[in-house]
Symmetry: C2
Subunit: 278 residues, 2 copies
């Protein structure tokens, strides 16, 4: 949000250690509101990325179910719900729904946001080591999906959780199953992205780039879609195109977070491609 | 041991993750015997070092008491005691005595080694976040000290655990308290090192170097003392001098493990200083 020129805030828990301090300082430096950041007497959760030639990557985590770390210790009473309703959109990653008390804090925040009329964006972030199977994940996420308005996911998650590579059929089926969904967006990797809304659908092919690091490209896509469609109200097709462009720019840079492009870079890229960002 | 030209082996648990694989591969590459390495379905314990200008450092760990990780999961039945008695010396760090089941596995191995007539080397590695106080640590370590023949520690640990900066008095008192101790070695940082044995004592000043990274310098000192005095039977004063030289060389290189010098470097350094390595 911040790098795309909008105000953003983060709600979550870090540990009482140098990584926690570093993460908070990084957010502050990027202009992100950190009033919702809580420090727990625990270790900051860690994500390690094994980056391979060609930009593909594997992850492993120091976090539940492996070891208990700060992020899953966030309690419902740690979350100031009035911060949530200062926003237009609440975005949640599915990994925040897997373990209590964090899962309960997240559910309370999502329900509060939904009831207040915010857009609630949710990305399942399916991981085999947490949920064991796509069906298990879907079952665990049902109550969260019921208060979601924008569901975004990668095609591999659509396959794992909804059992089909036919992304249009998956989107249609999911929209039917969860009546509060306004949008289902499916990122198709090298094939681009597809979004279905209550009024129509849009598809745009990916921009081909020589990927350095694909880590965070999906999250970058979702951030751009929230910015361009939900906040700036650009039409669906243009928003998908711009989100594809933003994700492509992310792939050119190393770092899941530090590698997130800035609005100025997207504007440059879009201009060269003849895509209006106006 | 391996870098000083002797055979060494490691007994302990790593996690079922890339760090565990990396650590095991590193040991194999150094020629260390890894038959005693067990892989646990857990995360590999992590140590983070904050290196400051001038080589001083702070540590923090992803490990108990903060989060349960692989190393403290080693169980007594995981340790093949016949591996222990293949060695001349068993070295143990105090951090391995803090949490069960590892503490019990370590105690069994130490008692087995002691009973079989091996030298048992022990370094308390006192950490405030584990033991709370020096007295608490000492109390918890009593049974381990009773089967120790070589106790090594830094002056700060002597102060924390034995309440005095007077290292000669501390060494004398500790030798009296634990009758199986043959040696008490106290590393004095920039002032050098002091060793008391049942037959005498030795002191040698430190070699002044422009430190890059002091991490692991104490462990390097202890490894060298084990090699030169316990294995190669050099006299106490020469062994202390060589250990001081080895620790000084360590300080010149970055990395607690990768920065451990090799015997050839020590020989060069000792030759230039006119210290015989015979």
């Amino acid at each position: 949000m911040a790098r795309l020129g909008h105000r953003g805030g983060f709600i979550g828990a870090v540990g009482s250690d140098p990584f926690g301090e570093m993460l908070k300082a990084f957010l502050v430096n990027e202009g992100v509101d950190v009033r919702g950041v809580v420090v727990k007497k625990a270790r900051t959760s860690l994500a390690f990325v094994l980056l391979r030639e060609g930009g593909e990557r594997d992850f492993f985590f120091h976090r539940l179910p492996w070891a208990e770390t700060a992020d899953t210790m966030l309690r419902p009473e740690d979350v100031d719900l009035s911060l949530v309703t200062e926003a237009h959109v609440l975005h949640v990653s599915g990994v925040a729904t897997a373990f209590p008390p964090l899962s309960e804090a997240v559910y309370a925040a999502m329900r509060h946001a939904f009831t207040a009329g915010l857009h609630v964006s949710f990305d399942p972030n399916y991981r085999g080591d947490i949920w064991g199977s796509g069906e298990g994940a879907l079952k665990a996420m049902e109550r969260f999906l019921k208060v979601t308005t924008l569901l975004t996911m990668g095609l591999d998650e659509a396959v794992n959780m909804f059992g089909s590579e036919d992304y249009r059929a998956v989107a249609e089926r999911v929209m039917e199953a969860y009546e509060n969904l306004h949008y289902v967006a499916i990122r198709l990797g090298r094939r681009g992205a597809y979004v279905r809304s209550r009024k129509g659908e849009a598809y745009a092919p990916a921009f081909e780039v020589k990927a350095v690091d694909t880590t965070g490209a999906g999250d970058a896509w979702t951030a751009a879609f929230i910015v361009f469609h939900l906040l700036e109200k650009k039409d669906l097709e243009l928003a998908v195109k711009l989100s594809n462009a933003f994700a492509a720019l992310k792939r050119l840079k190393r770092g899941a977070v530090t590698g997130i492009p800035r609005r100025r870079e997207l504007e440059e890229f879009a201009k060269n491609l003849g895509v209006g960002l106006g």
